[in-house]
Symmetry: C2
Subunit: 205 residues, 2 copies
DNA sequence: TTTATGTTTAACTATATGGTTAAACCATTA
DNA sequence: TAATGGTTTAACCATATAGTTAAACATAAA
């Protein structure tokens, strides 16, 4: 029973830390805020994770892991690249529904402190992200897909998937002010179809 | 001469504040950091702008103004909507080249403190953002463009324009790790063409 | 040169924040 | 029941940070 309670507290802290760090970043986040969110005493944070940086490290590491895990499908050479991209779209949209601020969190913290996290990002990301580019180049060479700029395609793909979740609060506000309803006008399914149409348009012969 | 020096200092502060607030947000930014960036004494910040919130307000207000100004073109009813969108793409990409973090700055601060900025955002944004949607609906009704989901189109458009600048640091890192060169693989011109191709594909009959 | 006025700074204050400590609080076991 | 050991808390401490103040500085006018 002891062990269970322990894990539960640690998990509560991690969940709260994730939430607060994602919202405010390493500099903007307050330990007291994290403690309040987790519903525990501030000293407990230091009991489980020595200090702010260590706690942030854990959160950031986990975020990287989960985020780039979504790109594993790019390496599945049993599928044609278009199918891999389709699968990726399914994965990432589902993932971002749960953590809408994940992309921007990773990008921001990495830009603020590149030297501190370069190795960590490197280690987790490895070549997962660029596998997509390599696969695109291969299928272009064999004439299976259209000749396109693979880097630009990768950027566009990430843009279409990530930004809707990042910008949701503002989009919501803009629509509401005009009597429209975000929840009626936007859905993960619509976005999914729309992105895949773009992929089809870009790659399909 | 006095007046000139004054303006120059105030401007130096505003520039520095913009930079630091965009990087760290209201909570994460430090007045000392802003003072250092501006190359002045911290007390001067309070001399020109009473406190942190007031300074932030000025910066945020200016950011809103400039950002939504780019969307004025959506209201130019002398042009067909596709032309308006093309012009918007030109505008916003140029603007984001200068302030790559502008979209995310506005979104983040607005989400963190919606009640504080709702009116300000409302006042500046007005219906600029949704004018695009209205215009799309009009031209769909008259059969000038394809029948599409206008809200989804708006989201995709913003995604394709904003995210490349937001994610640049990470993209850069990903490509460099694979021996590729961001500056060779990405350019504003390429992106411009690519976005317009998407617009053509989405609206064009 | 002197005075007046606006600008800039160093030194300071009060509070917020990250982090520590010692005591209290369980649950398990001897 | 008493002892043990991990968990949790209130009360601290040291430092960082937003904001203030009084004095120094500079410039223009008298």
């Amino acid at each position: 029973m002891k062990k269970l309670v322990e894990t539960s507290t640690e998990e509560k802290i991690m969940e709260a830390a994730k939430e607060v760090f994602m919202k405010y970043g390493l500099y903007g986040a307050r330990m007291q805020d994290i403690a309040n969110t987790a519903g525990i005493n501030k000293a407990l944070l230091h009991y489980y994770f020595r200090n702010k940086e260590k706690l942030f490290d854990k959160v950031f590491e986990g975020a990287l892991q989960k985020y780039f895990q979504q790109m594993d499908v790019f390496s599945d050479s049993s599928l044609p690249i278009k199918e891999r991209v389709f699968k990726y779209v399914d994965n990432i949209l589902l993932f971002l529904s749960e953590y809408p601020q994940m992309s921007i969190f990773i990008i921001k913290e990495f830009s603020i402190n590149p030297e501190l996290f370069r190795e960590k990002v490197q280690a987790v990301k490895r070549d997962k992200a660029v596998r997509l580019i390599q696969a695109l180049e291969e299928e272009m060479a064999t004439g299976k897909i259209k000749k396109i700029d693979p880097v630009l395609f990768m950027i566009n793909l990430h843009s279409l998937c990530s930004y809707p979740f990042i910008g949701e609060p503002l989009f919501k506000h803009a629509l509401k002010a005009q009597g429209k309803d975000w929840n009626k006008d936007f859905s993960q399914e619509k976005l999914n179809l729309s992105v895949k149409k773009f992929v089809e348009f870009s790659l399909g012969k």
